[in-house]
């Protein structure tokens, strides 16, 4: 160890950016930065550019200005797809948040079997959405579990071809994504609940607050950060949905359950309309950003609340 020692009192303050001991090397950050700049930023910028062209994936292309967007907004079927995209996101957000909160409150403490039950509710998250969809597809088949159960209950008049009916196809997908997503919300709410001190709830019950009042004035305010995270996650998952739709309905019948992510895939990768596909994904991106901002504004902690 050849290190000059100096009296402590006279040690000069290290100049900014040059500490006495250098931790790491600046270029260590390089590969990660490069990967993110290329895969995320450059690709996003290029995607925005392609949205204004008629690129087909090969050969040359010309700038077409807003043509792609005009075509999109004049096509009623595409507008329907945008509507479906929003419906999936809202249904996923509302469904998983309410059910996740219910499961979290029920399995927070008290029950002896709570750890096993939590694990079961959480399990679908770890499973592949594609594989999960095949299991559910059987439930909704014409000779599947749902119709059999309705038949056994004597409710034959409610039996239908769930996946082949334009009115119900989209709701089969919604059922599956909520079933799979409840676990994340539950775990986020459980984490929030575990941070409420037990004394606070005891104090509330000593003050003769009933169950609803305790939930409204003690539990819910403490859960606000959890609500922010849970709604944000489910919203983004819901907007980017792909595998369950492809596996359950393929977007049909007649686009009734198709969303933007699936339409982008069809246009850009199976029909070679890259420019049009890029324009669609630009719309999806803008929708995601708008939702993220609105969601942040609504669930942000407000002082004095």
């Amino acid at each position: 160890m050849q290190r000059r020692t100096r009296p402590r009192a006279t040690t000069p303050e290290p100049r900014a950016g040059r500490p006495l001991i250098a931790f790491g090397r600046w270029w260590w950050a390089g590969p990660a930065l490069l990967a993110v700049l290329l895969v995320q930023y450059a690709a996003t910028l290029a995607g925005t550019f392609f949205a204004f062209t008629d690129y087909s994936g090969v050969g040359t292309f010309t700038l077409t200005g807003l043509d792609n967007f005009v075509a999109i907004f004049q096509d009623p079927s595409v507008l329907g797809v945008i509507g479906n995209t929003l419906l999936y996101a809202v249904a996923q957000m509302v469904g998983t948040t309410i059910l996740g909160l219910a499961f979290a409150l029920a399995l927070h403490r008290g029950l002896k079997s709570r750890y096993v039950l939590r694990a079961i509710v959480f399990l679908p998250i770890a499973l592949s959405p594609l594989a999960v969809s095949y299991v559910w597809k059987f439930v909704f088949e014409y000779d599947g579990l749902l119709n059999q159960a309705l038949g056994a209950l004597g409710l034959e008049q409610f039996q239908r071809t769930w996946l082949g009916d334009p009115e119900t196809a989209i709701w089969t997908v919604v059922t599956v994504i909520i079933w799979q997503g409840v676990g994340i919300s539950m775990v986020i709410f459980l984490a929030g609940l575990s941070r409420i001190p037990a004394e606070l709830e005891e104090a509330a019950s000593l003050d003769r607050a009933n169950l609803w009042q305790r939930f409204r004035y003690v539990t819910l305010p403490a859960l606000r950060p959890s609500v922010t995270v849970a709604t944000m996650l489910s919203l983004i998952f819901g907007l980017r949905l792909f595998d369950p739709i492809l596996a359950l309905t393929g977007g049909g019948p007649v686009s009734s359950s198709k969303n933007l992510a699936l339409l982008v895939y069809e246009q850009a990768f199976t029909q070679g309309n890259f420019g049009y596909g890029a324009a669609l994904s630009l719309i999806l991106t803008v929708i995601i950003l708008i939702f993220a901002i609105i969601q942040q504004l609504i669930t942000r902690e407000r002082p004095g609340d």
Binding site: Y41, T48, L123, L130, Y134, W179, A191, A278, T285
Partner: protein, 278 residues
């Protein structure tokens, strides 16, 4: 105050029933995968198989060619492990330097990663494909590892940096004074300290990459490297309502995840709820 009352017992019974209904699809999957085609058609989905058909699984595993589950499994494994090694090494390197550096660019590049977490990947996927094809990275596992790294590094750097920010410098100073170079300091005293976050990153990114269907479908479509979800999609597409075999495919795809889940479920849950603190 939280005593186990008769009311709690009633609540417990109700919750067990609710969760049983919740898990019903998984039960149907398991029993269905062991029935013959005829039995599957004739019996209730809830009935246990009279004679468990292990041959269903055997047939699915031994299928060769483009529908080979074993080949898909190996491709998924290489892809997931390879991506995780790259993500963890580059991500922890990067977060460490960002946290320890006092320079202005370090803060700026942290925000670069932060914004990239929110940036939706949809818009990038088309040009990413065009770019990857131009440099010959489509249709290869290496290419997809690079793309996954770019996709998951922002989250990884964010988690590492958030964790390491409050850490004292004592260990690194001790190592440096003992004569360790920057890399040895990092390898022997920084990386081991980051082990809890490394677990979270590995689980979150690992599960996402293992189950991903969309990206491999596009970047490896029609090549000799289909991943497990892509193989499953092709395979099931070829089976016309042979539900017992479809279920056998799905059960086999579930097994590795189930084993992983049993060992890591607590960590997995912590990982998913960890974001609440920030």
């Amino acid at each position: 105050m939280f005593r186990y009352t008769p009311l709690t017992f009633v609540r417990e019974i109700i919750m067990i029933l609710v969760t049983a209904i919740f898990a019903l699809p998984l039960y149907i999957l398991l029993v269905g995968s062991m029935k013959t085609t005829a039995e599957f058609r004739s019996t209730s989905p809830l009935a246990l198989p009279t004679d468990p058909q292990w041959s269903n699984f055997l047939e699915v595993i031994t299928t060769t060619g483009r529908n080979s589950i074993v080949a898909g499994f190996m491709n998924s494994l290489i892809l997931t492990v390879g991506s995780l090694v790259v993500i963890i090494l580059l991500g922890s390197f990067c977060a460490y330097v960002i946290v320890r550096s006092t320079r202005r660019w370090a803060r700026a590049s942290f925000y670069l990663f932060l914004v990239a977490i929110i940036l939706p990947t949809q818009l990038g996927i088309v040009p990413l494909y065009v770019g990857a094809r131009a440099v010959g990275l489509t249709g290869s596992l290496i290419g997809l590892i690079i793309i996954y790294s770019g996709m998951f590094l922002p989250l990884c750097v964010f988690l590492y940096a958030s964790f390491f920010r409050g850490h004292p410098r004592d260990y690194e100073e001790a190592a440096a004074i003992d004569g360790a170079g920057p890399f040895r300091t990092y390898w022997h005293s920084v990386l081991p300290l980051m082990a809890p976050v490394t677990g979270t990153v590995a689980i979150l990114a690992g599960v996402a990459i293992w189950n991903d269907f969309f990206t491999p479908l596009i970047f490896l479509g029609g090549t000799n490297y289909p991943t497990l979800p892509v193989v499953m999609y092709q395979y099931v597409g070829n089976l016309v309502a042979e539900w017992n075999k479809i279920f056998a495919v799905v059960v086999i795809a579930f097994i590795p995840v189930m084993i992983f889940f049993i060992f890591t479920q607590r960590r997995l849950m912590q990982g998913f709820s960890g974001g609440v603190k920030s």
